[in-house]
Structures are given as C-alpha cells and as structure tokens.
Amino acid sequence: MKKSLGAVAAAAVMALSLSACGGGSSSAESAKGEINYWLWDANQLPAYQQCADDFTKAYPDIAVKITQRGWDDYWSTLTNGFVGGTAPDVFTNHLGRYGELAENKQLLALDEAVEKDNVDVSAYNEGLADLWVGQDGKRYGLPKDWDTIGLFYNKAMLTSAGISEDQMKDLTWNPQDGGTYEDVIAHLTVDKNGKRGDEAGFDKNNVDVYGLGLNGGGDSSGQTEWSYFASTTGWSHTDKNPWGTQYNYDDPKFQASMEWFAGLVSKGYMPKLETTVGASMADTFAAGKSAINAHGSWMVGQYTGYKGIEVGIAPTPVGPEGKRASMFNGLADSIWAGTKKKDASIKWVEYLASAECQDVVASKAVVFPALKASSDKAAEAFKAKGVDVTAFTEHVKNKTTFLYPITDNTAKVKGIMEPAMDAVVSGKAPASSLTQMNEQVNALFK
C-alpha cells in the first residue's frame, strides 16, 4: 500500500512541482503569514515550540504552526500531503528518505538562499551539511542534529557480575571469537538457575537475563543492530557514500560479522528475533531482561528516564582494524517544493539551523544539535542532568564515524534486505545467503 502510494505520489507530484517552480515568488510579499512545520519526535516539541516563539518575535509577520506526528504515520501522511497539496511548508527530513524525495522533485533547493544569506555550512559538525547535497549537486536541507551509537548498560547487573565500568570502556571485538565484547556479553547472561553464560551447565533455552538486547534484524542499514561492529572490519555498506551504486552485502568480512551476530542468539546470549516483534528493546532493558543494549544517542532520554534503573553508557567496541565505528546519521529541515510561502519558509529553515535555535535545543538535552558550538552546549546540558555522553561525542571527536548509506532506491533496498537479514539473525539462513540478496539489490541500480 505504502509503496504504491509512493509511486503515485511521485507521478502526481511531478506535475505539481513544475507548476510550483514556474511562478517564482516575489521576496518581500511572501515572507508573511503562517507556515506549517512537521516533526516526529514529541520529546523535542518543547524545544522547537520555543524556537518558533522566538522566531515570531524576530519576524512578527510570520507565524509557525508546529505539528507532531508519530514516526509510524509521518512518512505516509507526508507523501499523501505531496499528492494532495496539503504537505507542510517545512518538515524534518531523514537521510534514508530524502534521496527519493529529491529525485521526485519534492524538495526545494536551498543553494540560492544559503549563498544570499551567507549561511556558514562549515560551522556544522564535519560532513553533516554535505550529506544534504543531492546527486544533482543541489542542497536540499540544513542540518539540525546528529546521532551516533553507544552501549547502554545496567550498572547493577555489571556490579553483580564483577565487571567494572572501565572494562566496558575498553571492549574489543572481532568476528572470529567476539573478543572481550563477547566475553562480557556471555558473563552478563544469566539463566533461570542463576548460571552465567560462560559457566558450565548454562541452560541456553531458559535465559533470565540476556547479555545483549536485540532490536530486530536491522534491515539494510543495521544502524543500531550490527553496523557498529561490522564496520570495524573495514567493510562499508556501499562502494562510495553518499550516492553509491553498489552495495557490499556479499563481502566475506560482512558475512562473518553477521554469522557472529546470529551466533549470539543460538548461544543464548541474545533474545530470539521473534521475541522482539512488537516489543521495545529499551522497555525490555528496563524490565531487567537485558544487560547491554546498543542504541542510538536519540534514546538517551528514554534510557535515563526509567525509574529504578541505573544506566551507564559505554562506547562501542574496538574492532580488528584498531578503531571503533559508529554510523553517523543526521536530520535536517527541508522545504516542500510546493510551498506557497517560499521566502517565509526559507527564513524559518535558516533560523532552525542557526545558533539561536540550536542552542535552545541543546539546553533541553534531548539530542545533539548539528552546529559544533551547540553540540558542545548539549553535552554540557546532559552533564548537568548527570548523564555522561562522551561515548557518543567521542566518535565525532576521534572521527570514527561513517555516514548513513545514502543511495537511490532506498525503499526497495530495504524491502529486499529486511527479510534477508531477519532470516540470518533468526538462524533460518546462513550469512552466505546475503550474496544472492546483494545481487538483487545491485540489480536495482542497473
């Protein structure tokens, strides 16, 4: 349903955007009125509401109406809005989606405005602004925030297992025996009789606490599931990023990593894939069912918000190439090509990307803003709340990040890889089956 809708949206919108481009707006006249802004994360709503209020103070002629929609419905309603002409003027955009939106001429190129208003794109954390330059060389979004991956752990479980927090900071990993990362995971796994995963007599079919939580198979990107260790082997999703045209799921290094990951399930150190359906990995962690969860920095608020659970955050393990790795993802604000309030929308997007607004976001300690200076302020704000976020910021400081894979056909790639990865993680197919899937994926780019 969603896919067919997308296709129709694409077709219908061509015509729409053509007519939208033709007009060309006059500057002073259209920087007035109310513009609609959409986002999905309700936790950031208070911060952006304040930005909107401040913005209207600076530009009394422009009002901003913010609408929040849950992630599940966000993209389908947005696509509908493109077709029906009711899409928001400005909306929060995701790297995994914007390639297709740009291709379908849904997004307004911001180059002219960036040049005219002297937006300094080098002030953002390295690489973030470049992600939003499309294949046609045009800029389709101004960065708002970024995220990396870290290991959330249950402090009480660590203490009772005799593992120190310093040990957690120096974990190593390799695809053969899993390194100290697997040792720790095994030791933190406890069966119903109280036997640990690395002790004789461990009953892997009756596990009480899993060493590592599982979110799902990870589909094509494995953002929080497997990309943080698979990429320490020198493997990367695509031949180049952004805008690669070959995926590398057939690489033996990658398949060895996936083999190890699936092995955690068969050893009883990680829950079975079917138990994750409809469940939240974070809630399962809070219920005391897993000791370590690899998750994104946008989840800090949720993990530290649980009552009665002491949570620590460690960096992801160091891999065979001697470095850690984390996917570097970033959101941006984009303008719908069909907007009737182009100039006002540009002003709002520039404001969202400015230090004024990003400092407000930083002060709420929910996510890391895209601007370097604001990013540091967010780290301070987290610290003031008693949360140490260096596990996330170090990836950026030490340049151990790699970019979220941006290509064409992302929806189709996901459609092929999701069941394939699920089959591997649930043990129904060997990791070598991914070679064939990779051929299907690469055929999309011919």
């Binding site: 067919s4 936790n43 709503l45 849950g70 309603t77 509908n80 809005g81 974070a282 809070a286 009552k307």
Partner: protein, 308 residues
C-alpha cells in the same frame, strides 16, 4: 410483595434439587475463567493508563498501577504541559481531544445515518420489487463483499483527490455514506420475511412504493435498523486507515487517528503506553455507552424474525 414471595418459593426448591456437585463446580469455574479472560485485558488497560510511563517497564509484574498518576488522562485532555508529560516519561505531544471527538461523532453519525437509510432503500428494491435481472445484480453486489477494502483504498483516494475533497468531511464520508453490501444483505433478508398481505392491503388503499417504504416497512424494521445502525456506528468509530489518508488536517482529524500521537514518536522509541491506554479508554467510552443503551435491542432484533 406477593410476587417476591412466590418467586423465592419457586426458586428455593429448584436449588435444593440441584446440589453443588462437580459438574456445577466445573461450569462455574469455566464461567469465571471466561469472565476473567474478557475483563482482565480491560483492567490491564486501566492499570497501564494510571501508571507513570517511566516506571512501567521496571514494575511490569505488578497488577497495581506502577507509580499511580492521573497524568496520562490529563495528557489526553490536553491539560498537561509538554514538559510535565516528558518528565513522566510520556509524550510531549498534545491532542486536541474535544475537536477530534467532535469530528469522530460527525463522521460516524453521518456515515451511519446515510448507510442505514440508503441500504434500506436498496434492500427494499431487492426484496420487494420485481424487476428484470434483480437476482443477478444482487449476486454481483454480494460479490463485492469479497473485495478487500485495501484494493479500493488507492482508487478511492485518487478519486477524492481529483474531486478536490481531501481534508473535507465530505471526502471522508463519501465511500461509506451510500451503502455497504453487508447492510443491504442484512436488511434484504429481513424484508423478505415481511408479510405480503400488509403490503397488498396498503396497495389496495392506493399507497405507492414510497409510502409503503416509509410508513410500513421502515417502522416495522425498527429493530434490525437499530442493530445495523449500532454495528455501523461502532465500525465507523473505529475506522482508522481511510480517515488517516484523507483527513489529516486538524479540523477533520478523527479521534482514532489523533491517538496516533501516542504511538512511537521516534524510530525504535517506545510508545507512550500510559497515554495510549488512557486515550483508548476515553475513546471507547462513547461506544460502551451506546452499547449499554442499545445492547438489549440488538439481542432482541437478532431473535426477532419479522411479522408472521
């Protein structure tokens, strides 16, 4: 007074005749189990609605609310500030409850009234009028019940878009308001059983079909019409997908779609369980009230077999 006495007199010996044996105990146990199975989920919903989100996961075993709070209900009615909501581990999003409730009532009422009335007319034509190809048309009509609604969603959406009716109440009710094959089938079976004599008598008195329909058939079919109306209303009240596609603007957004803000906010984030459960309870209330008021009628009408 006398009736009470005679009733107890009648009941008492009956009790003595059926001693409490193993079979009765088994029946009671089964009954209690059935009650528990149907009531416990509601209690669990209520318990979750009264819990603080951030304590839910760590106190998942307790039957009592985890860290009791009315916060989730305040959130549903938009009485809690986003900052307070987030502090309780909830969603910072607010829903415009009363506006969505109004929209839900309008949407469900219009579609119910329209569908029942037009279906009754069609059913009358299928049951009481004689015309060529009647049975063929009727089988075709029944055949459409086999088409899953998802197949028609996209064409319907494009039609509504081309009519420029997106985000209007008219666009939302159009696919439902005229008739549904099930309603026609349901009413036709009932009309078939109505006596011909009354109708023929009315015809002798000079009544035409319109008059027969309005003055004889409709009043006599009050019970099945009420049943159908109630079932349609409940169905429409719970409708999600079409209102989500067509009515995404606030002024036509219905409650079921509005509840979506309590679902997962960010990818991989947990839903605001307390808020979602509180909102679900509140949104189910109107239907529960309707059911309490008209439930008896449904049972009666299903047992009712027409004028003999």
């Amino acid at each position: 007074m006398s009736t009470t006495i005679s009733r107890t007199a009648a009941v008492a010996p009956a009790r003595r005749r059926r001693p409490f044996n193993a079979r009765r105990a088994g029946a009671w146990a089964l009954l209690l189990l059935a009650i528990a199975v149907s009531v416990l989920p509601f209690l669990w919903v209520l318990r979750t609605a009264l819990s603080t989100n951030s304590s839910l996961a760590s106190q998942s075993a307790s039957l009592l609310p985890a860290d009791f709070t009315w916060g989730a209900f305040l959130r549903v009615f938009g009485l809690q500030s986003p900052a307070d909501a987030i502090a309780e581990g909830g969603s910072g999003a607010a829903i415009d409850f009363w506006l969505y409730l109004r929209n839900s009532v309008i949407f469900s009422s219009i579609t119910t009234a329209g569908a029942v009335f037009f279906s009754a007319m069609a059913a009358y034509a299928f049951a009481r009028l004689r015309w060529r190809g009647r049975n063929t048309v009727f089988s075709l009509f029944l055949g459409t019940m086999l088409v899953p609604p998802i197949f028609t969603a996209l064409p319907n959406f494009l039609l509504i878009k081309n009519l420029d009716l997106l985000n209007t109440m008219l666009g939302m009710v159009l696919p439902y308001v005229f008739m549904t094959p099930f309603a026609i089938f349901f009413l036709r079976q009932f009309f078939l059983n109505m006596s011909r004599e009354v109708e023929e008598a009315a015809m002798l008195d000079g009544a035409k079909h319109l008059r027969i329909f309005f003055q004889i058939v409709l009043p006599n079919a009050a019970a099945p019409l009420a049943t159908l109306a109630l079932l349609t209303f409940i169905g429409q009240w719970n409708e999600y997908f079409w209102p989500l596609l067509v009515g995404s603007q606030d002024d036509v957004r219905v409650l079921q779609v509005g509840l979506g803000v309590f679902k997962s906010q960010s990818p991989q984030g947990s839903p605001d369980w307390s808020g979602l459960m509180a909102a679900t309870l509140v949104s189910a209330l109107p239907v529960l009230i309707l059911f309490a008021a008209f439930g008896k009628k449904i049972v009666n009408s299903i047992g009712f077999s027409g004028i003999k």
